[in-house]
C-alpha cells in the first residue's frame, strides 16, 4: 500500500520534472535577444557567430536542442555556462549548499518562533494575549520576505548596526572548509569564531524568510492545540494536576502536530523560492543570487540548470512530506 503510493508519487514527480524542463526550455528559446551576439565583441563576423552557435548547439531545431540537452541532463551533463564558461552542474553544486544552509536555518527558526507562539497562544486562549498573537501573526503573514528583509536591513544594519547586511562571510577570513556547507562545517570543526561570523551574515536573511512561515505555523498549530485541549484525555491530564503548559507539551502537542507538519513541508518549498530575492537583497552568494545574474546575462544553460535543480528540490520535499504524512497518519497507514 505504502510502496504503491510511493511509486505513483515517484512517477508523477518525474512527469512534473519533465514538464518543468519543457516549459523552461520553451520559455528561454522564445527570448528575442541573441545570447551569442552578447558574448562576442562588437567586431565579430557572421562566421564567428555561426561557429559559436554550432559550439553551443544553437544551430539545430528547438526539438533537437531539447532532446540533446535532456539526454545530457539525464547523464548529469547540464552543459556549459555561457557567461561564466564553466560546467553548469559544478557551478550549481558550488552554490546550492549556501542556499540550503540558509533555508534550513530559516526553517528551524520558523518552527521555533511559530511553535513557541502557538503554545503561548493556546495556553492563554481567550485572553488579550491570544488576540495580540492573532494580530501580530496576521501582519507577519501578510508582509512578504522581501519587505521583511528591507525592514531588518534598516533596523539591524543601519539603526543598530549589529549584523552584516551583505555577503555570506567576511572576505578577510581564512576559510579551512572542504565542503561548501560553511555553517554546518564550522560547527563540526568547532570553529565557533567562523560560526559566529557566518551567523552574523545569515541571521537577517534567515529571519526575513522565517517570519511569514512562523506566522502560519503559529496560527495553524494554535488552532489544532485549541481543538485538542477540549478532548477528554487532556481534561483527564488536567484533573491529574498537570499545569496547563505541561498538559500542552506532554499531551496535546503530539496529537495536534500532524496538520502543521504537513503544512511545513509545503511551505518549506515557498521558503526556498523566497531565497532567490532575499539572497539578492543581502548579496548572499547562493543559488538564487546566481540565478538572477544568469537571467540578466541571458546565460541559457545556467538558467535551465538552476531552475531544474530548484524544481527537483521542490518535488523531492513534497515527496518526503507525502511519505511522512502516510507513515504518521494511522488512517492512511492501515488503509
Amino acid at each position: 500500500m505504502l510502496l504503491q503510493r510511493f511509486l505513483i508519487r515517484l512517477l508523477t514527480m518525474l512527469i512534473t520534472l519533465f514538464g518543468v524542463a519543457v516549459v523552461v526550455f520553451v520559455v528561454i528559446r522564445i527570448a528575442p535577444g541573441d545570447p551569442i551576439a552578447m558574448m562576442l565583441p562588437p567586431g565579430a563576423t557572421d562566421a564567428d557567430i555561426g561557429r559559436l552557435r554550432a559550439l553551443y548547439g544553437l544551430d539545430k531545431t528547438i526539438v533537437e536542442q531539447f532532446f540533446i540537452w535532456l539526454s545530457g541532463v539525464v547523464r548529469g551533463d547540464f552543459g556549459t555556462s555561457i557567461s561564466l564558461r564553466q560546467d553548469v552542474l559544478g557551478l550549481v553544486f558550488n552554490r546550492l549548499p549556501a542556499t540550503l544552509e540558509l533555508a534550513i536555518v530559516a526553517l528551524l527558526m520558523a518552527v521555533a518562533i511559530g511553535g513557541t507562539t502557538a503554545i503561548l497562544g493556546a495556553r492563554e486562549r481567550g485572553t488579550a494575549v491570544e488576540a495580540g498573537i492573532d494580530i501580530a501573526s496576521g501582519a507577519a503573514l501578510s508582509i512578504p520576505d522581501f519587505l521583511w528583509g528591507l525592514v531588518l536591513i534598516l533596523l539591524f544594519g543601519v539603526l543598530v548596526p549589529i549584523f552584516d547586511i551583505s555577503g555570506r562571510v567576511s572576505p578577510q577570513l581564512d576559510l579551512p572548509f572542504v565542503t561548501q556547507f560553511y555553517f554546518f562545517e564550522s560547527l563540526l570543526r568547532l570553529r565557533f569564531d567562523l560560526t559566529w561570523d557566518l551567523l552574523k551574515h545569515m541571521l537577517m536573511p534567515a529571519v526575513a524568510l522565517a517570519l511569514p512561515l512562523a506566522a502560519i505555523i503559529a496560527q495553524l498549530l494554535k488552532q489544532s492545540l485549541k481543538e485538542v485541549l477540549d478532548l477528554d484525555y487532556v481534561v483527564l491530564a488536567r484533573v491529574k494536576g498537570f499545569s496547563e503548559t505541561q498538559v500542552i507539551l506532554r499531551e496535546a502537542l503530539k496529537n495536534a502536530a500532524l496538520p502543521t507538519l504537513t503544512l511545513i513541508g509545503v511551505q518549506f518549498t515557498f521558503l526556498i523560492g523566497g531565497t532567490v530575492i532575499v539572497e539578492r537583497l543581502f548579496s548572499y552568494e547562493g543559488l538564487g543570487n546566481m540565478a538572477i545574474d544568469a537571467v540578466i546575462n541571458r546565460d541559457l544553460p545556467l538558467i535551465q540548470g538552476i531552475v531544474l535543480v530548484f524544481a527537483l528540490l521542490f518535488v523531492l520535499i513534497n515527496l518526503v512530506v507525502d511519505m511522512m504524512y502516510a507513515l504518521l497518519n494511522p488512517r492512511l497507514r492501515h488503509g
Partner: protein, 282 residues
C-alpha cells in the same frame, strides 16, 4: 463570547483604515500630475540627498527629502503608485480570469480535464515564483505589459487551486443534482449554479492577489527588470535606497512604508471579504 473575539471584533476600524489608505494612494496616483509637488524626473545636484521636512537642512516643497540625484522622493512615490496600481489591477484580474476558469472546469467536470489542469498546476508549483517572474520578464522584454503578463502567467494557479476545490465541493451538493434533473446543460449549471457560489472566494483572492502583484512588481523593478528605468517605481526607489542606505535612509524608509501599508491593506480587505461572505465565520 471570549475576550479575544471581542478584541478582534473591535478591530473592524482596521478595515476602514485599509480602505482609506488604498483610496488615498489610488487617488494620488490617478491625479499624480496635480498632486505631486515636484517633477518626479527633475534632477538637481544642488538638492541632492535633502532630508525629510522635520530634519535640519530640509528644503520647503521637498516634504520627504530627495534622492542622490536631487529628485523629490514624495513625487516619485506618487508617480510610482501609478505603475503599482495598474499592475495590481491588470495582473490580478488576468490571473483571476484564467485561474478561475480553469479551476471551475477542473473542479466541476473532473475526469480528464481535471487531470490535465492539475498536472499543469503541479508543474507550475515546481518553479520558484520570483525566479520564474524574473525569467519571464527577461524573455518578454521589460515594459508594463510584460510585467502584467508575467505575473498573470505565474499566479493563475493561486485561483485555480482554490476554485477547483470549491467547485468540486459545490458540484456534489443537492442543488446541482436538482438542476441536472431539471434538465439544465452541464455548462449552464457550471455558470449559473456553481460559479455564483464560488464568487466570494474569487473576490477575496482577487484582493490578496493585488497585494502580491504590487510586491512582485516592486521585486522586478528592484532587480531593474520592470519598466523603463526612467519612470519611477516603488521597487526602483527601494533599489536606490538600498544603495545609499548609509547616506540617505529616507530613500529606503518611505517606499518601504508605502509598500507595507499597501500590501497590508489589500490583505486586510481580502480577509474581511472572506469573513463577510462566509456564513460559518460570520
Amino acid at each position: 463570547m471570549d475576550e479575544a473575539r471581542i478584541i478582534r471584533r473591535r478591530l473592524s476600524p482596521r478595515l476602514w483604515l485599509a480602505g482609506g489608505w488604498l483610496l488615498l494612494a489610488l487617488l494620488a496616483a490617478i491625479f499624480a500630475p496635480l498632486v505631486a509637488p515636484q517633477d518626479p524626473l527633475a534632477q538637481d545636484l544642488m538638492l541632492e540627498r535633502l532630508p525629510p521636512f522635520w530634519l535640519d537642512g530640509a528644503e520647503p516643497g521637498y516634504w520627504l527629502g530627495t534622492d542622490s540625484l536631487g529628485r523629490d522622493l514624495l513625487s516619485r512615490l506618487i508617480f510610482g503608485g501609478r505603475i503599482a496600481f495598474i499592475v495590481a489591477f491588470a495582473a490580478a484580474i488576468a490571473a483571476c480570469v484564467v485561474g478561475s476558469t480553469l479551476g471551475l472546469i477542473a473542479g466541476y467536470f473532473g475526469g480528464w480535464a481535471d487531470r490535465i489542469i492539475s498536472r499543469i498546476v503541479d508543474i507550475w508549483m515546481a518553479f520558484p515564483p520570483v525566479l520564474f517572474a524574473i525569467l519571464l520578464v527577461a524573455v518578454l522584454g521589460t515594459g508594463l505589459s510584460s510585467v502584467i503578463l508575467a505575473i498573470a502567467i505565474i499566479d493563475w494557479t493561486r485561483f485555480c487551486r482554490v476554485i477547483r476545490a470549491e467547485a468540486m465541493g459545490q458540484s456534489r451538493m443537492d442543488y446541482v443534482e436538482n438542476a441536472r434533473i431539471a434538465g439544465y446543460g452541464r455548462i449552464g449549471i457550471m455558470l449559473r449554479e456553481v460559479l455564483p457560489n464560488v464568487v466570494p472566494s474569487i473576490v477575496a483572492l482577487l484582493s490578496l492577489e493585488m497585494g502580491i502583484a504590487v510586491i512582485v512588481e516592486a521585486i522586478l523593478s528592484f532587480v531593474n527588470l520592470s519598466i523603463s528605468t526612467d519612470d519611477p517605481t516603488w521597487g526602483g526607489i527601494i533599489a536606490e535606497g538600498r544603495l545609499s542606505i548609509h547616506q540617505a535612509w529616507w530613500v529606503l524608509v518611505f517606499p518601504l512604508i508605502t509598500l507595507i501599508l499597501t500590501v497590508l491593506s489589500f490583505s486586510q480587505f481580502g480577509e474581511a471579504l472572506k469573513t463577510r461572505f462566509d456564513p460559518v465565520l460570520r
